[in-house]
C-alpha cells in the first residue's frame, strides 16, 4: 500500500462503528420481546388470507432498516380473478 492509498481510502472503522450502532440499537430493543417484523408479517398475512387466497410463494417481504426509518416492503401477487373466470 502506498502513501497515496492511505489518503485516498475512506477510513473503514467509522463505517463499522455506525453499522454496529444501528444494528445493536435494534437488537437490544428487541431482545426481550417478540420480533416486531415477525409479528407484523404474521398479522398482515392473516389479514390478506381473510380476503384473498394467495399462496405463500406469492408474497415477497423485504426489509431495510435505516438509522431513523426502516422500510418493510410487502409485495403480494394476487391471482387475477377475472383472468381465472375467463378460462
Amino acid at each position: 500500500m502506498s502513501l497515496f492509498d492511505l489518503f485516498k481510502r475512506r477510513r473503514s472503522a467509522p463505517v463499522a462503528r455506525e453499522r454496529l450502532q444501528v444494528l445493536l440499537a435494534y437488537e437490544r430493543k428487541n431482545r426481550n420481546q417478540p420480533d416486531l417484523v415477525a409479528v407484523l408479517r404474521e398479522e398482515i398475512m392473516a389479514v390478506i388470507a381473510k380476503h384473498v387466497q394467495v399462496s405463500q410463494e406469492d408474497v415477497r417481504i423485504t426489509m431495510d432498516r435505516g438509522d431513523t426509518t426502516s422500510t418493510l416492503e410487502i409485495d403480494i401477487h394476487i391471482p387475477n380473478a377475472s383472468g381465472a373466470a375467463a378460462l
Binding site: R9, S12, V15, R19, D35, R41, E57, I61, G66
Partner: protein, 271 residues
Amino acid sequence: MAKVVVVTSGKGGVGKTTSTAALGAALAQSGKRVALIDFDVGLRNLDLVMGAERRVVFDLVNVTQGVAKLSQALIRDKRLESLFLLPASQTRDKDALTEEGVASVIARLREKFDYVLCDSPAGIERGAQLAMRFADEAVIVTNPEVSSVRDSDRIIGLLDSKTLKAEQGESVTKHILVTRYDAARASRGEMLSIDDVLEILSTPLLGIIPESQGVLRASNVGSPVTLNEPTNAAARAYVDAARRLQGEDVPVVLPVEKRGLLNRLLGRRVA
C-alpha cells in the same frame, strides 16, 4: 446439482465467516450461483460481514419450521446477483434446528445452486455437526498456531465419522485453508510453517491467506474482501482458493511480505 461445502474449524475466531464470505463472493464473481448458509444459530454474523444485516426478514429456522418459504428467506447480494445468503436465527436457541429440517433445506438448495457454503459455528457440538452433516467437501480453516491445528484435527475426525458421507462409507473431500499467515513471522521461524501444518493434519492445502488489514477493512464496511479490495493480497489468495475448489490447478505461492518504503527505512521491528 450443487456441491455442498462446509467451512469449519473447531476453534473460534480463525476466520470461518470471513472465509465463507470471501470464497462465496469469489465463486459468484466467476459466474457460479452460490448460496451461503449461516449455521451459527443465536450468534449469527455472516449477515454483518456480508453487509446484509439490515435486510434480514426470515432465517434458516423459519424455513426449517415452515414459517417461511426458502425463496422468501434467501437474501440476494446487492453487488453480485448470483450470490445469496440464508441467515441464522438470532433469537432462537441452537436446538431449534433439526436434522430433517436442515436436510430438506440443503436438498432444495442443491437444485438451484452450483455451490452451497455452510458457515459452521465454532465448537464440535450439535450446531457444528449439523453444518457438516450433508457436506460433500470441507474447508477446514486453520491458523498456523498450535491450538488451531489441534482443533482442526478434531474436526477432521468428526468429518470422517459424523457426516452422512462417512456413514455411507464414502468420505468428505477435505481441504485446509490456512488463514492469518504472517510471512515475516514464518520466515523468522516464529510461526508453524505451512509444511508443518499440512504434515500434522495430512490433508491437502486449498490456499494460504496472508494476514492483511484489508480483511478487517472489508468486514468493517460489510463487503467480502474479494469485492471490497480485489487487488489486496488476501483477496487474491481467496480468488485462487476458490478456483482450486472448482478443481482448477492453480499453483500455491507463499505470500511474501511487501514492505513499504517507510518500513524498509525503519528496518524490521523485533516482534
